[in-house]
Subunit: 191 residues, 4 copies
Amino acid sequence: MTKGRLEAFSDGVIAIIITIMVLELRAPHGTDLAALRPLVPKFACYAASFVFLGIYWNNHHHLLQAVRHVDGNILWANMHLLFWLSLVPFVTDWMGDTHFAPWPVALYGVVMLFAGCAYFILSRLLIARHGADSPLARAVGSDFKGRISLALYALGIGLSFVVSWAACAAYLVVAIVWLVPDRRIEKVLAE
Amino acid sequence: MTKGRLEAFSDGVIAIIITIMVLELRAPHGTDLAALRPLVPKFACYAASFVFLGIYWNNHHHLLQAVRHVDGNILWANMHLLFWLSLVPFVTDWMGDTHFAPWPVALYGVVMLFAGCAYFILSRLLIARHGADSPLARAVGSDFKGRISLALYALGIGLSFVVSWAACAAYLVVAIVWLVPDRRIEKVLAE
Amino acid sequence: MTKGRLEAFSDGVIAIIITIMVLELRAPHGTDLAALRPLVPKFACYAASFVFLGIYWNNHHHLLQAVRHVDGNILWANMHLLFWLSLVPFVTDWMGDTHFAPWPVALYGVVMLFAGCAYFILSRLLIARHGADSPLARAVGSDFKGRISLALYALGIGLSFVVSWAACAAYLVVAIVWLVPDRRIEKVLAE
Amino acid sequence: MTKGRLEAFSDGVIAIIITIMVLELRAPHGTDLAALRPLVPKFACYAASFVFLGIYWNNHHHLLQAVRHVDGNILWANMHLLFWLSLVPFVTDWMGDTHFAPWPVALYGVVMLFAGCAYFILSRLLIARHGADSPLARAVGSDFKGRISLALYALGIGLSFVVSWAACAAYLVVAIVWLVPDRRIEKVLAE
């Protein structure tokens, strides 16, 4: 089984998720700059989710580069990841509409945590399929960044009921951790 | 004629159908967990339809793996399948909004039944094109799962006017039947 | 210049156009079959537009099969076609909402007529690029079906102000003309 | 790292952006031609944005043709471009709804200016990766059209507070500059 359609379908779903979020940024009725002010939290949420989905697409792209074979379990592990990512527009919208209220911020973290777990499961299944000494296994390694992200999401969920902005800061740290380019897979593949 | 664009177009349409359903999960006005409660039936319907569309994509992927040639009739048989799948967001939404009322549950089954028939027609046309002793024909075989699914959908449609939850259970059995990985095509292709 | 991305982008746009139309089929508030009755004209329009867009995708697929080279002009001729197709959801919606009123029915024909002209321009540019004796030129031939379609759309536009159902019948004849499979390109390519 | 998925993902995102804008062209309640009159500014904005996005897709297509390698930085530079393009439906909608009021027209220019800068950054990163004497570097050259576009967007932003129609004219000049086919990359690649 080839990985071509798995990549194409994932590209399609992530492209749609990342784009339909903008449908919730509705044009204001006013005509001046002040009319945009109420949209600022929604815009911030949109930009943040765009970055998170971009990170997932980037990591998915890197991960699949090193993949040789896929099977039925891997197709479903990928679908499971796409399910959690598909809920991002919903939680983004709720968080933006409620101006970062505790429960929406926590739910945002929950969806991100589940997406992170789904990504972790997918990468483990792929490594199991390719062998512990495959280029894929060496490229993913101990997945330190992935583990730290899950911890930060869990921390953010807890913080959201205390200080919701601190939760957002925890999520932001995850984004920064990933935006620093990850050369592991590129390096191993280049060898 | 190559199958590349048939796969790409089907991937695109299924990716969009599976994703736009989330647009109907509108963010609630409240800011606490109770505000999410009215969304529970809609969310359950969304998750179920996500799984059903995932099953169709998986099966479509497996089926097309074994395909060598396509022609005009096959393109239209595929379009026919996509038509019924495109109605899934509508029936999902109606079923969720009406909290599993009899008619919406029945209509959900009708759309699923027609999609199942369309898939059956597509697979028969593909087998006719490739010959009864082709790897494709052996991989699809008697399509026991497909036939049982159609029967379960028909049962569900009937049940929906008696006990609508029993109809949902019938649909759920279909999903479980398919989620158990189907190794037939993988096996035949590996030979 | 390769045609791969032209196909991929066109597949994406047509897949989205064909799918977002279903967003206008909003779930009714009622829970019985009668609640669906007001949706019948909208559903009929949706099904018709699905078929028309399917025809365009099929023809586009066939046409591009025989293409070897593309250039900047061809990219824009293709974009021009996609522009008119992108208006199909709008006119479909207006025609369905107004229960086939004269102006909406006429505008539907106008959009279809412009899409047909755009397709004609695209095919002529492709033939000019490949030469009058190329397989592509022989496959498209005099494009009798294309010319008859444009005439039928023009007839439909005129009829819509007299008897709007006769206009719909004219559009339906176009669909039937194209649904009868077109083996020209398949035949020429098989040679 | 191959460029295939970068192209596929960009195609997907641009295809969705260009298509979902039509969802804001809502069918009017009236049934005659007069009912369409209030939609004229929205339609003009839609057509303009369709052309601008078409230009970006065309240029992106041409640019990527000459690309051999991509890396993590290039993936993010591309994502940055897609972010600004994803805001086009929002500003298009606001500009159309407010009948070309000064602030919406200025914001349209701002989004276009940032998209132009993002495209410039992407092309510079690609050239840095391929070397100053690569076919890609020669094909892009000094990017005169790109620089003139940025200047025209800046001019338009300033003009929008004086005469908003003059700002629109400045944006229109950008479109015309790019619609005149750009044979540089095609020429260099053909060599």
